[in-house]
């Protein structure tokens, strides 16, 4: 079995790959957030006289099958994916880490109770849970968000709990404790520096998975509804026009690829 090892310092492993990931992510962020300023266009505005237009000066990425600006749609879809990924990672990581520390530190009934909840979530592949939660409120942003966050927090919980268990009995933490330092201090000084690298790695993988999940949901038409610009949904919509306009279909594909790649590189470990 592969065990989770704590990396000593942030960026200690594969610094080059991580910098590449960071640069890629920053470029994507710039593209997604600057495009509306530089090329203000409504991603939902149709122009049926110019469908599937080839890239030009006024439409740098061409138009889709309804004549909508592909540039505006792509930027909006990337904003949606990154926003949702960061939001769900944050709201999974914070409770995941806190509960993991609590369970690992306190042990006993709290540990067993939370462990059982975690086992329930892990009993099934996460995407199935996300699918079913998303189906409860179809086309709603929050149901995707809740589903993804609910699946993601378990990872943080398990890793942090296992690490905390061994850290709590370490001599340095015991010494600080005997000196009378408070719990918050102990967490900040002794636990967090050890936990941070693995939490950041998990966060990067989690963001990648969130992007993949949103795209998969959109692709099978369970997720967000048209006319929302969403990467998976765009692929489904543009697939029938592949023969006429392959470059349009390749854009959301490239966007998903680059997004996930940047997060995977940022994670700094072998792909899983």
């Amino acid at each position: 079995m592969t065990t989770f090892t704590l990396t000593p310092r942030w960026l200690a492993r594969r610094p080059n790959a991580r910098y590449m990931g960071l640069v890629l992510l920053v470029l994507l962020l710039l593209f997604a957030w600057l495009t509306p300023w530089l090329f203000p266009a409504d991603p939902a505005r149709q122009n049926l006289l110019h469908t599937l237009a080839t890239p030009s000066l006024s439409e740098p990425l061409g138009t889709d099958h309804l004549g909508r600006s592909q540039l505006a749609r792509l930027a909006s879809a990337i904003r949606l994916s990154i926003g949702l990924a960061l939001l769900s990672v944050l709201s999974a990581a914070i409770p995941g880490v806190l509960l993991g520390v609590a369970a690992g530190w306190r042990g006993d009934w709290l540990d067993r109770g939370l462990g059982l909840v975690a086992d329930c979530v892990l009993a099934m592949p996460g995407l199935l849970l996300v699918f079913m939660l998303a189906a409860m409120a179809p086309g709603q942003f929050w149901s995707l968000y809740v589903g993804i966050a609910l699946v993601l927090w378990v990872e943080y919980f398990r890793v942090v709990r296992a690490a905390t268990r061994s850290l709590v009995t370490s001599p340095q933490l015991q010494a600080s404790r005997l000196l009378g330092f408070g719990k918050v201090y102990l967490f900040r000084r002794h636990l967090w520096p050890e936990l941070a690298p693995s939490v950041l790695t998990l966060a990067a993988f989690g963001a990648a998975n969130a992007v993949l999940a949103v795209a998969a949901l959109g692709f099978v038409s369970i997720g967000l509804r048209p006319p929302t610009a969403e990467l998976g949904l765009m692929m489904t919509e543009l697939l029938p026009y592949y023969q006429e306009a392959p470059w349009v279909l390749l854009q959301p594909i490239a966007a998903v690829f680059l997004l996930v790649l940047s997060f995977q590189l940022l994670a700094g470990r072998d792909p899983r």
Binding site: M124, F219, L265
Partner: protein, 315 residues
Amino acid sequence: MSQAIVRLLVSRLLQAGLVAWAVGTLTFLLTRALPGDMAYRIAAGRYGYENVDRDAAQAVASELNLDSHPLSAYAHWLGDLLQGKLGHSLVSGEPVWQELGHQLGHSLDLALTAVVLALLIGPPLGMLAGLRRGKALDKASLVAATGLRSLPPFVIGLLLIMLFSVTLGWLPAAGHGTAAHLWLPALSLALGLAAVSARVSRNAMARVASAPFYAFAMTKGLSPQRTFWRHGLRNVGVPVVAYLGVQLIYLIEGVVVVESLFAWPGIGHALVHALVARDVPMVQGTALAMGLLFVALNTLVDLACLAIDPRRRPA
């Protein structure tokens, strides 16, 4: 040995129970969370919008226990599940069991072909890379694995369709029936799986090849091939097979989406259709089958690990 197996089977059985409870509860919540009058909606789905009247809605409501108190309905729902009463599909009217029976075989075909293909592609490449660390093959395999893992299975599938069906015209893009139809969906899943198992086996091979016992085997005069077959293969096999357990998540999730892409008549395709059509009994049946398939495959992986690795067995 047998003790370890019993403990393993008990824990997997508990997991199967958890899956059934989670799926049952979620689908129950799904019925309650549907907007509008559920009975009318389902009746419309079943008989068509023109043919819905109050009697039809009433019949649906009594069949699905829509009028009773939520808690008693929940107990009733789980009770039915416990007895294996999955009901009838609201769209086709066929018993859910019967539909699942058709689909399970197709999904298994796809999943197992994908795993076999992945094992044929990934570990051999990974082991070669691990034996020649830092060389071109090692670097190329890292780049390829990172790239493939950045593509979700359905995107790999799309790219394969574009390449093999649209551009080259070698293989059919979608459908089911002949062996040719199996290639593209299986390959879409296998490439992602192979990417990870190549890296896992590369790391394992590198570790084994730099271990003292490996060097000793070479020193005592065994040829590189013999050393590999005798001392390398089995040691590399353990993490690769163990990691298959982790990859099953990818496999099952991939099956759902890839089946939808290729119109493969399996359980994943049926799940997506049921979710879109709000066919609650089918949602429950297919999600349950998917979840239980996941548990069953995991059990097989565990048993395989026990068989390969004697250290896992109590003396």
